[in-house]
Symmetry: C2
Subunit: 338 residues, 2 copies
């Protein structure tokens, strides 16, 4: 494979740094052409980098936590792993950045330091809004791309068009789908369904998004009838977290049912490996993490409740996005200069 170098945040997420470091180690073992720039406080990363050939230290004495106000934290803690990781991408020291830290802080730092592309809007050129994108497992056995998952609660119709163009580029680049079917998330599939906002988006989508297949609804995030589902970040976040909550409820009901009778207890023992697999599949980390599309570099965000496996997958997925040229392909899809 092509040599690639990504930066990984050693202190992002709710787990201790050892978990992240073990994940980086697993990724380095899995991919012999991968180099990792490990960002974090010296006492956390120095030994790891000294003992791993393809790991290099990016010393970042400050830490941004999940509790910090994202924008204030990014503005004041310039020596945090999140800020320095994004700056490493901007300076070309790394092809991409992966963090399981605060979504808000990584989005803010990515926007400030990796910087978004600009595109023509009427007679001005304005910055594209970075769009948080991930893939969910669907009932057809594939994956469905959801964008925006929460970076932009308030947007204009043209922003949604751009999310759709970027989401389609992600589907083809990362998931290998040739002609992605794009749906506009609404409260019904018929064209007349929707809010005033989706009604304003619909004709623009028809005109500017190849593969636009009309309105879709919440069930279509998992139906497999659409490859890309596009919406503002408010609706996307609600959809995603509603699914997360439903999955938790079902797993708990199932466990309760499984331990409430002898038949259930026998089943539980038999089914344990299957249940574990199901949970993993539905954790939202099917493709290693969420990508901020629209930036001039790969920035990927993992789930805060992370694990060795999740950090490994996120690091490898970040490397894949760099190798596949995701950033250039997104720019191409939107007719921009990369």
């Amino acid at each position: 494979m092509d040599k690639v170098r990504v930066c990984v945040d050693a202190v992002g997420g709710d787990e201790p740094a050892e978990v992240v470091l073990a994940g980086i180690e697993a990724a380095l073992e899995a991919d012999a052409d991968l180099e990792v720039l490990v960002a974090g406080p010296e006492e956390v990363i120095a030994e790891f980098c000294a003992t791993h050939e393809r790991a290099e230290a990016l010393v970042a004495p400050e830490i941004i936590t999940m509790e910090d106000d994202p924008i204030t934290a990014v503005m004041t803690r310039r020596k945090s792993s999140i800020v320095l990781g994004c700056r490493a991408v901007k300076k070309g020291q790394a092809g991409g950045f992966f963090s399981a830290g605060s979504t808000g802080a990584v989005t803010a730092a990515g926007t400030a330091y990796v910087t978004p592309f600009k595109a023509a809007l009427e007679d001005r050129r304005t910055a594209i809004r970075p769009c948080l994108t991930n893939a969910l497992p669907n009932r057809a056995g594939g994956l469905t791309v959801l964008c925006d998952m929460g970076a932009n609660p308030d947007v204009e119709p043209l922003d949604v068009v751009r999310f759709a163009q970027m989401g389609a580029a992600y589907a083809s680049c990362v998931l290998g789908i040739d002609h992605p079917r794009v749906g506009l998330l609404s409260n019904g599939t018929e064209e007349h369904k929707g809010s005033a906002f989706t009604h304003a988006c619909f004709p623009l989508m028809s005109q500017l998004v190849p593969g636009f297949a009309g309105n879709c609804e919440g069930t279509d995030l998992t139906s497999g009838n659409f490859d890309v589902v596009v919406c503002d970040g408010f609706a996307g976040n609600i959809a995603l977290k509603s699914i997360e909550g439903a999955a938790k409820l079902m797993m708990e009901e199932l466990k309760r049912g499984l331990t409430s009778s002898l038949a259930g207890k026998v089943s539980a023992v038999l089914m344990k490996p299957m249940l574990r697999q199901l949970k993993r599949k539905l954790s939202g980390d099917a493709k290693g993490g969420a990508v901020l599309l629209g930036l001039r570099g790969v920035v990927m965000i993992g789930h805060g409740a992370t694990s060795v496996e999740a950090v490994k997958n996120g690091t490898l997925a970040c490397a894949q996005c760099v190798r596949e040229g995701l950033v250039d392909r997104v720019a191409d899809a939107m007719g921009l200069d990369a």
Copy 2:
């Protein structure tokens, strides 16, 4: 129990009328103080009403289907079961109306014929927007009320306040929750999270909704941390259908897992009754159907993919809402004259 009389749509839903009639029969058997006004074409309902003492015919020769444009259908088919059922409530011939027919058509007919309350808005009195409300099972073993589930894709902040007041009245009246905790659906629980719209709602909610407990997120529809979750009908519909889709995906994955190995097959046999119960619980019919709050009469809508059990539960739930005085209690909660 108090004698109560509700109207049931015999031709609503995707199933044949025999299913609905069997559901009405089961409801009549379960509740000796219930009378049912059965709305439908004469050839469908005459024999049933002749042979069931507490069933009376409301002959409605026209039918509104799921495929019809709701508003056009309600305006042109004045002799449909949906229109005549709503008119029966308005005229006091029935305390409430239950239909498993088109949500859009029942909402339109309920608004036109049962009519919403009016409330003061600035210096005018305007009609309240009817709000589609239901209860979902949560992880704490209780139910969480979601309103609006889809009747109003575009609303003003004051509409959301009214939805919250009505949803809280439903929670206390139907679910027996004394001081319901009300959450505003947003993309995060912190006060600064949300869209421009939820930011406009937040201070009004704080001021006008007793029990307002701040922002909540998609996971809180099933977390059990809130008794009532309030939002516009666009977000509510997306949340509800995202949950429905996730539940379908998980049931299918589970079935696939259960039949792919010998251990799984053994488990499947042992677990069948439990899985069936889980599916029922998550079908969204925990309280028999969705209620249109804000109307001057009880109007309840069941899932289109109905069953004998669902029609029975919907009919009994409709009767319960009438007996509990839901309409007056909603008006009280909003400081209106009933």
